[in-house]
Symmetry: C2
Subunit: 300 residues, 2 copies
C-alpha cells in the first residue's frame, strides 16, 4: 500500500487505529478451543467485527511462533484472509527482525513475496545493511524501532550519543570565567549530541524515506513526540502502548499528529480480549468503535 492510499483510507474511514492480533491460545474464549484452528477462528471473528473501525492489523509473530508449525499455519491463514477480504487494510507483521544483509534479504523475501504483507517491524541495532534489503519492494514498508513503549527503552534508546561532531566551542573555552566555565562547557556539548533514538531516526533517513519507512514510537512516551517530529516531520509513526500499556491517545495526537495524520495507533489486548464469552467479537468491535470515535474527533 502506498502512502497516498494509506492517507486516503485514514481520512475516508476517519480512523487511524491498528488492531494488534496478539492472539494467545491461553487467552481466547474457551468455546473456540474445539475449532480445528482456534487461533484463526478467533482472528477471523475479530477482523470481521473490527474492520470498519481500523485501517491496519498487526499480528505479532511471537504469539504465532509460540505454537510452532500450527502457529505458522494460523498466521498464514490470517494474512490470506485479510488479503482476500480486506485488501484496503494495511497489514503489519510485528516481527522486529534484522540480520546481516543476505539474511535480512531472506526475511524480506518471506514477508513481502511469500506472505504478502505491507510492512514489517525491524530492529535497528545492526545498521544499514540489515535494513535496506527490506526497502527494495515498491509499496512495502519498513517500520524501524525508534523509541519503544517498554521500560527497557530507557537502557539504550535514551542514551546521549556522540553524533560525530562533538567539539567544544573555542570562543567559550578560551574565556577564563573560573567555576562558571564548567556549565558553559557542558551546555556547549549538549548541542551536537543527540539521543540514540534520534540518531536512529536521523541516520535511517539516508536509507529510506517517508514513502517506505515508518518508526515505532511508544505511546507511553507522549511528550517525546515533540522531539521526534523535529527529526521526522513527515514520516508515519506506528504507536503501540495505548490501552493495556497505559499511553494517552490525546497526548500522542497533540504532539505527534501531522496534516496527513502521520500516526497509526495500535491497540491489542484492550480490544481483542475485552470480553471472553461468545460475544467476544461483538465486544471487540464495540471497543474498536469507541477508539475510532475518539480518533475521528482528533482528526477533525
Amino acid at each position: 500500500m502506498t502512502r497516498q492510499e494509506l492517507i486516503h483510507q485514514i481520512f475516508t474511514k476517519k480512523t487511524f487505529l491498528c488492531v494488534g492480533l496478539d492472539t494467545d491460545i491461553k487467552k481466547i474464549p474457551e468455546h473456540l478451543l474445539k475449532e480445528d484452528d482456534p487461533i484463526f477462528a478467533f482472528n477471523q471473528a475479530i477482523i470481521d467485527a473490527t474492520a470498519p473501525y481500523c485501517v491496519a492489523y498487526k499480528p505479532n509473530l511471537a504469539f504465532y511462533e509460540s505454537m510452532g508449525v500450527k502457529g505458522w499455519i494460523s498466521f498464514e491463514k490470517t494474512i490470506t484472509y485479510l488479503n482476500e477480504n480486506y485488501p484496503n487494510h494495511f497489514i503489519i507483521a510485528d516481527a522486529k527482525r534484522g540480520d546481516i544483509g543476505n539474511t535480512s534479504a531472506m526475511y524480506a523475501r518471506t514477508f513481502f513475496e511469500e506472505i504478502n504483507l505491507d510492512a514489517l517491524t525491524v530492529a535497528p541495532y545492526m545498521g544499514e545493511d540489515s535494513v535496506t534489503p527490506f526497502l527494495q519492494y515498491p509499496g512495502k514498508w519498513v517500520i524501524l524501532l525508534a523509541l519503544t513503549s517498554n521500560k527497557g527503552s530507557h537502557d539504550f534508546q535514551l542514551l546521549s550519543v556522540d553524533n560525530g561532531q562533538l567539539t567544544v566551542d573555542s570562543s567559550h573555552a578560551d574565556s577564563s570565567q573560573g567555576g562558571s566555565q564548567l556549565s558553559t562547557v557542558n551546555s556547549q556539548l549538549s548541542t551536537p549530541q543527540e539521543r540514540l533514538f534520534e540518531k536512529v531516526l536521523r541516520k535511517s533517513q539516508e536509507w529510506g524515506n517517508a514513502d517506505n519507512m515508518m518508526y515505532v514510537v511508544g505511546a507511553t512516551q507522549g511528550q517525546m513526540f515533540e522531539d521526534i517530529r523535529k527529526v521526522v516531520p513527515e514520516h508515519f509513526l506506528l504507536v503501540p502502548g495505548i490501552g493495556a500499556q497505559g499511553g494517552s491517545l490525546e497526548e500522542v495526537c497533540k504532539y505527534g499528529m501531522t496534516k496527513d495524520c502521520g500516526l497509526i495507533v495500535n491497540s491489542s489486548r484492550a480490544i481483542i480480549y475485552a470480553d471472553k464469552t461468545e460475544r467476544f467479537a461483538e465486544v471487540a468491535g464495540e471497543e474498536a468503535k469507541k477508539v475510532a470515535e475518539q480518533m475521528a474527533a482528533l482528526l477533525s
Copy 2:
C-alpha cells in the same frame, strides 16, 4: 547445557567450532530436491558428517522462515534430530529476537520449552525487560548482539555514548592554559564515555552472568576483542564472520581466547556449501575437520 559442560566438550573434543545451518533451498545440491524434505535431508547429512569436529550448531531462523510452514517443519525436525542423536552439542537458534516483556516471554517459551534449544540470539535495543524473560530457564542461554560482523555495525554500535557520568574534571577546567585547554577538555571527556556495544556489554551484566549469557562479536572486528575482554573477561563469545565474511581465526583467538576458551566460532557457508555434488556432506566434514585442527592447535 551448563557452562561447565560446554567447557568440558570443548577441551575433550579440542574444538570450539559451531556449524551454521543457514540452509537455503537455492544453494543445496540438486539431487536433494527430490527428497520429501530437502532442507532436513541436507541438515541431517551435514550434521552426521561434521558432528565430530564441532561443539555447536546454529540454524539461522531466517532461512527456515523463508520456506513458511514447510520451513518450520524442517527446523523443528532438525532440532529434534540433534537432541536425540547429539545431546552433547550446544544448539543455538540464531533468531535475533527481542520484544516487550510479555512478548519476549512468549518467544522464550517457544524456543526453550517447546523446541528445547540451548541458546537464542537476542537483540539488545529494547533493553532489560526484552532480555530477562529469556534468562529464567536454568541451563539455557541468551546470546546478546554486541558487535556484529556486518558493515552496518558501524552505524550505531560504535557510537560513543554518554554513560551517565559525563563531566569535565574541574581541576583541568579551572586552569587557564589558552588553546591547549581544548584538547585537555576533550581527553577528559573521552574517559567516562564508551561505545554503544561496550555499554551493552556492561549494562547487560546487571541482568545475567557468565553462566547464562554470551555475546555475539563478529570476527571481522578482530582487534576489538581486546577492548571487549576488558568489559567481559569471562563470558563466552559467539563469533560469526569466519570464512565467507573474511574474519581471521588467529586474530580472534589472539585477542579473545580465555583460559576456559571463551569462544564459540561459527562458520556457515564455507563449510556447508563447500561442495554441491553428491559428496557435499563428506566435503563439509573435511572442511569442518580442517577448522577443528586449526582450533586444536590454538587451544593448546
